[in-house]
């Protein structure tokens, strides 16, 4: 390699895209050419300064995340309104009661998962099983099921009480090599069991169902089938 080659290939060298052979030739030339060596050191220094300058800036995405979530949810609601006709208002009102309330709760659950689990917003969590079990007891849920709910490869990591759409839920986080899954549980006063339903909320997939005594919402990454898989297991345990 000569000095011209070094100059031409410098972007690939700095981005570590040179294959082993060309990288070795590159290094050989630098070892024998002080001018090229100084040039590369300067370019690497400039890169480091740019990285430091830009990465040290504070980037607050909280308001943007809210805007994105709203813009994703809104078209779905607009479509529903557009397809409603006047004669179906009564049906729509009934549908609102059975569909919209759980949907809003699921969106809130996905939002909690995103902020508190994925983004790691600071919250007070119970980390040991007895303490989490006590929280579960307050929700009328047996602590014995908490560990059994963990899917294969996951373990119960933490828990706390939270409010979704104005209702108290027990928020459990199960962690494994495939990421983290949030499980939201709440005791039901009455009602008939329902099948498992899923809804996509932004980058999360939410599965939810009711047993005779418990309402459960499970949130996982949209790319994974974890939410649905865990919901099937949980529906049997709960």
């Amino acid at each position: 390699m000569n000095c011209e080659d070094i100059s031409e290939l410098s972007p690939l060298y700095l981005s570590r895209e040179l294959d082993a052979l060309r990288r070795e030739e590159f290094h050989e030339h630098l070892a024998s050419c002080p001018a090229c060596l100084a040039e590369m050191e300067q370019l690497a220094e400039i890169d480091a300064r740019v990285r430091d300058a830009i990465l040290c800036e504070d980037v607050d995405t909280a308001s943007l995340d809210r805007r994105v979530r709203q813009s994703i949810v809104r078209p779905v609601r607009r479509w529903l309104i557009a397809t409603s006709v006047a004669a179906a208002i009564v049906i729509a009102l009934i549908g609102y009661r059975v569909w919209s309330a759980p949907d809003r709760t699921c969106i809130a659950a996905a939002d909690d998962h995103q902020r508190e689990v994925v983004a790691g917003e600071r919250r007070v969590w119970k980390l040991d099983l007895p303490a989490i079990g006590e929280l579960a007891g307050r929700q009328g849920i047996s602590s014995a099921v908490l560990v059994r709910l963990a899917p294969e490869g996951f373990r119960l990591e933490r828990g706390k009480l939270c409010h979704l759409n104005g209702r108290a839920f027990l928020h459990l986080v199960y962690s494994g090599s495939d990421g983290s899954i949030s499980v939201f549980l709440r005791q039901r006063e009455m009602g008939n069991p329902g099948g498992i339903r899923t809804v996509d909320a932004g980058f999360e997939r939410v599965a939810y169902f009711d047993t005779a005594g418990v309402s459960a919402i499970i949130v996982a990454d949209r790319n994974s089938e974890s939410a649905l898989r865990l919901a099937r297991v949980a529906a049997q345990i709960l």
Binding site: S15, I46, A53, I54, V68
Partner: protein, 148 residues
Amino acid sequence: MHHTRSLLRVARRLTSDPEDLVQETMLSAWRGFDQFRAGTNARAWLFRIMMNAFHARGRRARPALVPIDGHDRAGGADISIAAEVAQALDELAIEHRTVLLLGVVEGFTCQEIAEILGVPIGTVMSRLSRARESLRGRLAPRCQAKEV
């Protein structure tokens, strides 16, 4: 939300309405999620959507800052080095700024940048070289002024 921080960090240095651009990007990604091929680079895919949106709409680019003279470019003694580097970056032409942000700050390879921008890899390499050269030229007088 995944990757919004990276997208916003770059968008802030490209356009005067960065949050709108990233919001549009995320909405497009959500609507076109079926087009994403599992196993490929999701981050590069999002940046490609953002750069397409940026160019397709003829979005008002954040103007390159033009220094008044050498003395002003040197800046006051209280301006931090990081602020000077950021200002020098903002003075670069938009295509030079873009490749530096994608390659140096966000860590994309030249090949990935070429795919994000839809240009040949040779174009990316030459833009990166010119961008680094241009940045060095802008930073040198500042450093000399500091040393005086």
